[in-house]
Structure formats: structure tokens, C-alpha cells
């Protein structure tokens, strides 16, 4: 069983594709089926991109840390950044209408929540933003 995997990455969006491949490999190893594994990786990447942009301000010197653990029937990703942003306040989850819809931010959170269905934001022990995404394993 996969336990205690930790990946630290700079807040640089050129690395996102490589991380997505990493998440897909982890997912397949954990038992996520091939049809769903891209959905998993997109959900995780949406959270990682938000951590890079909103938590770390896109500063490559600031790291995003991804913790991966497999439990019975569940694959857990914890994503920590170095910021103290508030996802609901800073992004919102309501796309709005008209111009607000076109200009809206927060599509990534909406997509991640819909794909993973279990995504919570909170704080890590240092008081920085922590996202926890749990993917069910059949």
C-alpha cells in the first residue's frame, strides 16, 4: 500500500504537466481505473495550480508540497502552500452570470470539487492553506 509519498515542487507552471503524469501513475498504482485517472489528475492539478498562484503568488522559490497516502478504499492527496489565502473568499465558488461569468475566477475549484466530490480546504499545523482531496477507490 502506498504511504508517506511526499513531493515538493516550485511554484512554476511549466512543471504542472510533469506533476500530472506523476499523479496519474500514482492513481493507476493505487487502483484508479484508466477511464477515471485523468479526471483524478486534473482535479489534483487544479488544486496545485491554485496553490501555486493564490497561495504562493507564482513565486518559484515558494514550494507546493503534495502528500499522498492510500487508505482502504481511499486515495488521499494533501496539498500545502505557503500562503494564507481563503479559497471561498478569494475565489468564490459561484460563477455568476453574464460578464461576471466570463470574468469569473474559481473555475479550477469548481472543476476539482466536481471531479473529486471530496475536497476540503483548511490549515496545516503552521497555519498555511491546506487542501485535502480524497478519491474513492473501488
Amino acid at each position: 500500500m502506498l504511504k508517506g509519498i511526499v513531493l515538493k515542487i516550485p511554484s512554476d507552471d511549466t512543471i504542472v504537466e510533469a506533476v500530472q503524469i506523476f499523479v496519474e501513475k500514482i492513481g493507476l498504482t493505487a487502483g484508479v481505473n484508466e477511464e477515471d485517472v485523468t479526471g483524478l489528475s486534473i482535479a489534483v492539478m487544479e488544486v496545485v495550480k491554485n496553490a501555486m498562484e493564490h497561495g504562493n503568488g507564482g513565486d518559484p522559490r515558494k514550494l507546493v508540497t503534495i502528500y499522498v497516502d492510500v487508505y482502504s478504499g481511499r486515495l488521499q492527496f494533501i496539498i500545502d502552500d505557503c500562503g494564507s489565502w481563503q479559497p471561498d473568499a478569494d475565489l468564490g465558488h459561484e460563477p455568476g452570470e453574464g460578464e461576471a461569468l466570463i470574468n469569473s475566477r474559481g473555475r479550477g475549484v469548481l472543476i476539482a470539487r466536481n471531479l473529486a466530490r471530496w475536497l476540503d480546504y483548511g490549515l496545516n499545523p503552521e497555519g498555511k492553506t491546506r487542501a485535502t482531496l480524497i478519491w474513492p477507490l473501488s
Binding site: 507552471d13 504542472v16 485523468t38 460563477p95 466570463i102 479550477g108 472543476i111 466536481n114
Partner: protein, 113 residues
């Protein structure tokens, strides 16, 4: 992601395949949209029939292309969105700003007007 362009009855048809997600490929798609706007090609039909996945960055590029075209009086419509991609448009409410078609002839007929 692969991008193919063709003009049909005066409508620019852009066919995408693969994953429309964050990465250098998205810059190519932005350039195609910019080119469509600068050449005043007119209306654009975006065929997503072979797109496996799209993320928020991909959607952002589509919205940006749609907005730029609309400013110049053009329209952008979506053709053949798969169930997964259509769900993304519903979740993000973007289904309310894009015209969608499942029949290419019907889409071309509508856009060439």
C-alpha cells in the same frame, strides 16, 4: 493537443484533439484564436469531438477567444462536445455563453449567416 484548421463556407473550423490542459500547447491555441480575430475570419466553429479532457486553463483560453471574437462582432460555437466536456461546461455555467451543436452542417449553416 493537436489543432487543425479549415475554412468551410466562410466559417473557420478549428478541430482539437487530445487534452486541452495547462501547458505550452495552450499558447498555440491562443495564437489560433488571435489569428482568427486579426484576420477577421468571421465566425468560428470549435470541434471538440476528439478532446479527451479539458481543465480550467483550457476553458479560460476558450472564453478568452470567445470574448475577443465577440468584440469584433464574431461568434464562436462548440461542436460535438463529449459527455465529459459538456459536463465541464455545465459545472462552470459556460454552457450559457457558448452555442453548442452536434451536427456540423447545421452549425456551419447557422454560423455562415
Amino acid at each position: 493537443m493537436k489543432i487543425k484548421e479549415e475554412i468551410k463556407d466562410g466559417v473557420m473550423v478549428i478541430r482539437l484533439s487530445g487534452k486541452v490542459i495547462s501547458g505550452p500547447d495552450l499558447m498555440d491555441l491562443k495564437s489560433v484564436f488571435q489569428s482568427a480575430v486579426s484576420k477577421a475570419t468571421g465566425n468560428v466553429l470549435l470541434d471538440l469531438g476528439h478532446v479527451a479532457w479539458m481543465d480550467s486553463s483550457g476553458l479560460g483560453v476558450l472564453v478568452s477567444g470567445h470574448t475577443s471574437l465577440a468584440r469584433e462582432g464574431g461568434r464562436m460555437a462548440i461542436l460535438n462536445a463529449t459527455k465529459k466536456i459538456h459536463e465541464l461546461f455545465i459545472i462552470t455555467k459556460l454552457v450559457t455563453i457558448f452555442e453548442t451543436f452536434n451536427d456540423e452542417s447545421e452549425a456551419i449553416e447557422s454560423l455562415k449567416e
